[in-house]
Symmetry: C2
Subunit: 199 residues, 2 copies
């Protein structure tokens, strides 16, 4: 690689700092950008700059936004009495992609993890408490992931909000759709049996 | 994806135009850049801009350079009487990585391909002829790839340069090192048998 001129080496190094991009891929991308039209390369560079300068967190749900309030919080067709609590914007994107949800969100920005020194004050639990106004909010869905930290976070929020008369729910665990029973771990299977429902 | 703010969608789209980067990877990279330090993002954007503005072709060998002449053509330790002819800078990089070559290069910028309308005037064969000065150049190694176009290009150059008393060679074909004989295609095997050498 050392035979490349400096600007090529620099871009290869910058790109290979990105997650999942190795030296080889970075080299391929750099040579592609070199051959691309000047407009395409300029657009890419401008989009990176714009991203960093214009994105902030929605003041209501803390998801990414280029305004004070995000698209979802300002969408009149969304049910504002229904809050789905997720760990991060990626999890929120996963719920959005399913197209099965029409409420709004609350992004915690992390999960409780005593081992990593992450307590209730390090994630946006206080902000969730402020939003949990009985009468205004009908239901809060706890959609943190189903590992130890996710379950602990859900339990903590549950305990904190129990006294309000807001309905509190947890996303279902069980066999994935199309999933073959023989490949399911036994904890998931236990959960699926425990939460079985009648017709 | 439509729930993301505009600047995020724009960068995802710009990144997914790169080869081998799908929507999912582009989304992951965008969220990484969003969380990265402002410095890291600015560096990446600046490196893209600098790449496009500062890279040109070496006036001798036509590889990438940020000067009139590239690092290799100006390296006093390189043997200037030995030219390795390759299709493109990626192939040149492959030869460089092997660290087995100490001459200089000639980048054709393509291969002869009548089917795609690429003739001798469309690639840098005339420029190679100009460089092929007997006395100054001892040997020209034809290192175009071993498919139909690569072989045709090598043959064409061979015919053109036959009358000079420059030594003309072609890179060897055969079983890759560590290659298992049973997985080798029969053309490679034929070539490996035909070009067998004594001890």
């Amino acid at each position: 690689m050392t035979h490349y001129p400096e600007p090529i080496i620099k871009l290869i190094q910058s790109l290979s700092r990105l997650p999942g991009i190795g030296k080889k891929t970075a080299e391929r991308l750099t040579l592609h950008i070199l051959h691309a039209s000047p407009g395409e390369a300029a657009t890419l560079a401008a989009d990176i700059i714009e991203l960093k300068s214009s994105i902030r967190l929605c003041e209501i749900c803390f998801s990414f936004s280029d305004q004070e309030r995000c698209k979802i919080c300002t969408d009149p067709s969304r049910d504002k009495s229904l809050i789905c609590v997720v760990e991060n914007p990626t999890d929120m994107a996963a719920v959005e992609k399913s197209k099965g949800y029409h409420g709004i969100y609350h992004i915690l920005g992390g999960l409780l993890s005593p081992i990593d020194g992450i307590g209730p004050d390090d994630i946006r639990i206080r902000e969730l408490m402020k939003r949990a106004v009985p009468g205004k909010i009908q239901e809060i869905i706890l959609a943190t992931k189903t590992n130890v930290e996710g379950e602990a976070t859900a339990s903590y929020i549950l305990a904190k909000l129990k006294k309000t008369n807001i309905r509190l729910t947890r996303i279902a665990s069980g066999i994935p759709m199309g999933g073959d029973l023989q490949y399911i771990d036994h904890l998931t299977m236990q959960k699926a049996m425990e939460k079985r429902y009648g017709f």
